[in-house]
């Protein structure tokens, strides 16, 4: 399947930004299940400073705001050819060692809530067990936009019983790692069958399963990623893989508009 994607992020500020930087992780890479035909990111009212590959093999671009900017646009677009591999990404490749993906983070840390949930599910770290885990999370955490907060940890999500794809993913990562399974966060695009315009990227999880390597789990949709999924960035949690992280001086009164178009060619 071939997808054409455009992702436009536009910021407006009441007060000018005197200095600011954004770290972008918005560039998908060619891998066994996706071939990048073309991709580019352009910036208006800002400048690309540099790019590098981080320890999760993500392409990172650092951009700066134009002096005293009151607006900033970042537009990424391209075409990707996808193959359905039933969610299997394959063997681990570096640079980060596999054990790093067993490390919990602030957002995934397992405490009493996660442990009790795991006991109830009774899943093990095998492929079956991880599927059981994913569906248990889906039934325990209602998908509800606006119910959660971006800073919520896996514990917070389980307690509230509601959240979005990011929250489902964090709970899965927390549980998988608690079982000793290396697991990672994936941020990416998902082609929807009923519309092309979306207002956010998608998130799902990958766990490293003996014999298969990395395998994807879209907890929110209760399926394995297929030829509609474009992987953009991975990491230990949302913080590592998020499309934008930045800081700025000035720029009070931010207005953010995100428009994502994912269409089959």
């Amino acid at each position: 399947m071939r997808l054409k994607i455009q992702h436009a992020t536009e910021y407006r500020f009441d007060q000018p930004v005197s200095y600011g930087l954004q770290q972008l992780r918005k560039t998908p890479k060619t891998s066994p299940q996706q071939h990048i035909i073309s991709w580019q990111t352009r910036v208006e009212n800002g400048q690309k400073e540099l790019s590098f590959e981080d320890h999760f093999h993500n392409t990172v671009e650092l951009i700066s705001f134009a002096r005293n900017a009151t607006a900033l646009s970042v537009i990424s677009e391209g075409e990707v050819e996808l193959t359905d591999t039933s969610g299997v990404i394959g063997p681990h490749r570096g640079p980060a060692p596999l054990w790093l993906f067993r490390r919990q983070t602030g957002l995934t840390q397992a405490k009493s809530g996660v442990r009790a949930f795991l006991r109830d599910v009774g899943a093990d770290g095998g492929l079956e067990g991880l599927h059981d885990l994913a569906s248990a999370i889906r039934s325990s955490v209602r998908y509800e936009i606006g119910a959660s907060h971006p800073g919520w940890s896996a514990e917070d999500v389980l307690e509230a019983g509601a959240g979005v794809c990011q929250d489902h993913t964090h709970v899965f990562l927390s549980c998988a790692r608690e079982l000793g399974v290396p697991a990672r966060y994936v941020s990416g695009y998902l082609m929807l069958d009923d519309r092309t315009v979306q207002d956010a990227m998608h998130a799902w999880a990958e766990a490293h399963v003996e014999g298969l390597g990395w395998v994807g789990f879209d907890i929110s949709n209760g399926i394995s990623p297929d030829a509609r999924y474009v992987r953009v960035a991975t990491g230990l949690d949302y913080g590592d893989a998020s499309p934008v992280s930045g800081l700025r001086v000035g720029g009070d009164g931010e207005l953010l508009d995100v428009r994502i178009d994912v269409a089959q060619q």
Binding site: Y19, L50, F52, L62, S64, P95, W99, L100, L247
Partner: protein
């Protein structure tokens, strides 16, 4: 401790004057004690003035921050030093190779020489350094190796300092002061110079400049600012090297480089000697609340556009638990037998070691794995029953947090006390510079001395002082 076992660097174990001190002793015997006392006071004044001259401290503060200086030099012979510095060089080579390996293929873990948990559970391991190849391949550019001596040819490494070793300004000031006060001593004794350190440092840093450097590398010193306890040293080194002393707010990312604000606009920095800890270095990548760092510097670094000295994440090599593996580390990367000894170390994380430590607590020194400055440690032989009991409880509660070592019989060196020369325990921190051009060990270093009789704690925060350290030409 058995008093007769202590090795005195001037008088040996048998009260016979050792060769390196012959020239000094001749001079000392001809000196008037009252004049030396006056000289000691003069030295204190000089140190106070230097602090004030550098616009660092006010009068009262200078007084407060003064680390006592003792005018009797510690003297090491040329051949002794040659042996020692070969060992130090070997160790620094191994440390750099180790850090590279840990952030790349981790061959030493795969080879089973270090357990994976030593890295994977180590807070000093910095994931952002995985796969990063620093310019020139050097991770720790400035190293301080803490040594103690127990006999004529017996040196042990107590600790490696691979992050931001401090104290070099004391080494330089101590020498400067001695040269001013006792010029005649230096004409009688041929002492290897340490004064080239700032020039050497500058050259060593410049040799690590990134590929994008145009012309002569621009070097700068990054300080957390005036409230940092080592600010004097930062200012001093920048001044001596003839480079800019900058703070985080002077720097920003410009055209993919880290640049400093000057009167002619922004100038890119090629090599940044930073004295800001990893966690505070970059609020965009590490602690977001840091006001001391430079947002995006880690990105610039990862893009290969600046050299950060020392590299972030070097703490993985000077962790006290890793220390116990140093003999394996040296052998693994150099293929040579370690020239310097490690103090035998019990890892309390291991059940057998913990049992031994608990049974022999009164004979051991117990240290926190991540501690420094001599705090949070137990010196068994001098501890009270109550202190021993308290530490036993701590060890049982968090064994992985501690290592233990036998108490070494540290050498003594005379200080100038009210009763004349009196032996006090010392350690030694030589300073080492590493670049692709080679490893240079400055002859001498910082000798710290426990001014209290019988004390083994040399840390300045706990009543230690310093001495000029001489390495003789031959």
């Amino acid at each position: 401790m058995d008093k007769t076992a202590v090795f005195d660097e001037m008088w040996g174990q048998d009260e016979r004057l050792r060769d390196p001190y012959v020239g000094f002793q001749e001079w000392f015997q001809g000196e008037d004690v009252a004049r030396l006392r006056a000289k000691q006071r003069e030295a204190d004044t000089l140190f106070r003035l230097t602090g004030i001259t550098f616009n660092v401290y006010g009068r009262a503060e200078a007084e407060e921050r003064l680390i006592p200086f003792d005018i009797i030099p510690r003297i090491i012979s040329g051949p002794e030093w040659a042996r020692l510095s070969r060992g130090i060089e070997q160790r620094v080579r191994a440390i750099n190779a180790f850090i590279h390996d840990i952030y790349h293929k981790q061959e030493i873990v795969k080879a089973g020489r270090i357990p994976q948990e030593m890295i994977s559970r180590n807070d000093a391991f910095l994931p952002q350094m995985i796969g990063v190849a620093p310019p020139g391949g050097i991770y720790t550019h400035i190293v301080g190796i803490d040594l103690v001596r127990t006999g004529p040819g017996e040196f042990y490494v107590l600790e490696d300092n691979a992050r931001t070793p401090s104290g070099v300004s004391y080494m330089l000031e101590n020498r400067e002061t001695m040269l001013q006060m006792f010029p005649e001593l230096f004409s009688r004794n041929r002492v290897q110079p340490v004064q080239t350190y700032p020039t050497d440092l500058r050259q060593s840093l410049a040799a690590c400049a990134p590929a994008c450097t145009e012309g002569k590398p621009v070097v700068a010193v990054l300080t957390p600012g005036i409230y940092n306890s080592a600010y004097f040293e930062h200012a001093f080194l920048a001044d001596q090297m003839g480079v800019e002393l900058v703070e985080g707010h002077d720097l920003r990312v410009v055209d993919g480089r880290v640049a400093m604000r000057t009167t002619r606009g922004y100038t890119p920095i090629d090599v940044l000697y930073r004295r800001v800890d990893d966690d505070f270095l970059d609020p965009l990548n590490f602690n977001p609340d840091s006001q001391l760092g430079v947002p995006g510097i880690m990105d610039v670094y990862r893009a290969g556009n600046i050299t950060i000295a020392n590299a972030p994440g070097t703490g993985i090599a000077d962790d006290k638990a890793i220390y116990s593996y140093m003999p394996e580390i040296v052998e693994f990367y150099t293929g040579e037998r370690p020239l310097l000894r490690n103090v035998p170390t019990f890892r309390c994380s291991e059940a057998d070691d913990l049992a031994y430590v608990l049974d022999n607590l009164a004979d051991l020194v117990v240290k926190e794995v991540h501690g420094s400055g001599g705090y949070g440690m137990l010196i068994g032989p001098t501890a009270s029953k109550k202190e021993l009991a308290a530490f036993r409880a701590k060890l049982k509660a968090r064994p992985g947090n501690y290592i233990a070592q036998p108490t070494l019989s540290l050498s003594t060196v005379p200080i100038f006390s009210r009763q004349g020369l009196a032996p006090r325990h010392v350690d030694l921190r030589p300073f080492v510079l590493a670049s692709p051009k080679g490893i240079r060990v400055t002859p001498g270093g910082l000798t710290r001395v426990a001014l209290k009789k019988g004390s083994l704690v040399v840390n300045s925060s706990q009543g230690g002082g310093t001495k000029d350290t001489w390495v003789l030409e031959d």
